[in-house]
Symmetry: C2
């Protein structure tokens, strides 16, 4: 079973690598998708080579989607193919886990209205303006959407993600 | 149940934070010990505030010891109190998990002779010179000693650590 992670430059390094390693530890395959196959560099300087580009993603092959934070989500959301990937995971009812600035993608996908969610506090007002019921908690689960606020929430974030994956 | 992590400046960021978060995710308390309580900064810039100094560590309170890599182990090993902590974990037969340059502490503690171990390749010859049976693998378990080579080995490293913790 495979999980997809979306990435662009200036991703929050721990928010990419903790879920990536954690899912591998649990035995899941993990693919990293980006706008091209060029190496991406995180805010702190860690590097990752994407496995495939957005246009080559076949959503049906994946059991869940993870969206790390940092400045990457602002770069990802301006790519319509990437937003379409997020929408298809949501339409299929598969787990979508977004942390920190990751929920910006959920705003762009039009998936926020009426949902209980959290995020990095700096984008809290954007979520509220888009109709979310904002909660300040280390992790918030609403249907198939899992959200967290920051790197220190990663243990709770991945605990809920893996719990949800095992239910499917 | 609590786990102890040793840290100084220039730690390998993922090798500190992945085990720290991973153990928290599993429900363990985690304390970080250093030579003082000043904030420590990793090679990539992540920061951690130590919970206690080496001299205040009571080894009996902990179920395992984790030694992340980077340049920190060279700073830790010159502190006799820190080396004594490593020795006491080993004497008690409790899990000691060292990754990357972390096994430098095991050399300083005199714990390497005749043991199957791995490490970052740059210190391989030091382990061999100290009498280790060196193995190039993502994780090597010999008795209560768990060793790995680099950040990408973290899933295997933590899988073995948590497996060993659950046996105790």
């Amino acid at each position: 079973m495979k999980v997809l992670i979306l990435v662009e430059n200036d991703f929050e390094d721990l928010e990419l690598f903790y879920p990536l390693y954690r899912l591998r530890e649990e035995g899941y395959g993990v693919d990293v998708a980006s706008s091209s196959l060029d190496v991406r560099v995180g805010k702190k300087g860690y590097q990752i080579k994407p496995d495939l580009s957005y246009e080559d993603v076949r959503v049906e092959e994946y059991a869940a989607l993870v969206i790390p934070g940092g400045k990457a989500p602002e770069r990802i959301r301006i790519n319509e193919k990437a937003v379409e990937i997020v929408r298809r995971f949501l339409d299929l009812g598969e787990p979508v886990a977004a942390i920190c600035h990751g929920p910006q993608l959920l705003i762009s996908a039009g998936a926020v209205k009426g949902r209980r969610m959290t995020s990095w506090i700096g984008i809290r007002d954007d979520l509220i303006a888009a109709g979310a019921e904002y909660v300040d908690a280390e992790v918030v689960v609403d249907g198939n959407i899992i959200t967290s606020r920051m790197p220190d929430d990663l243990p709770a974030f991945c605990r809920e993600l893996i719990k949800m994956l095992k239910r499917y």
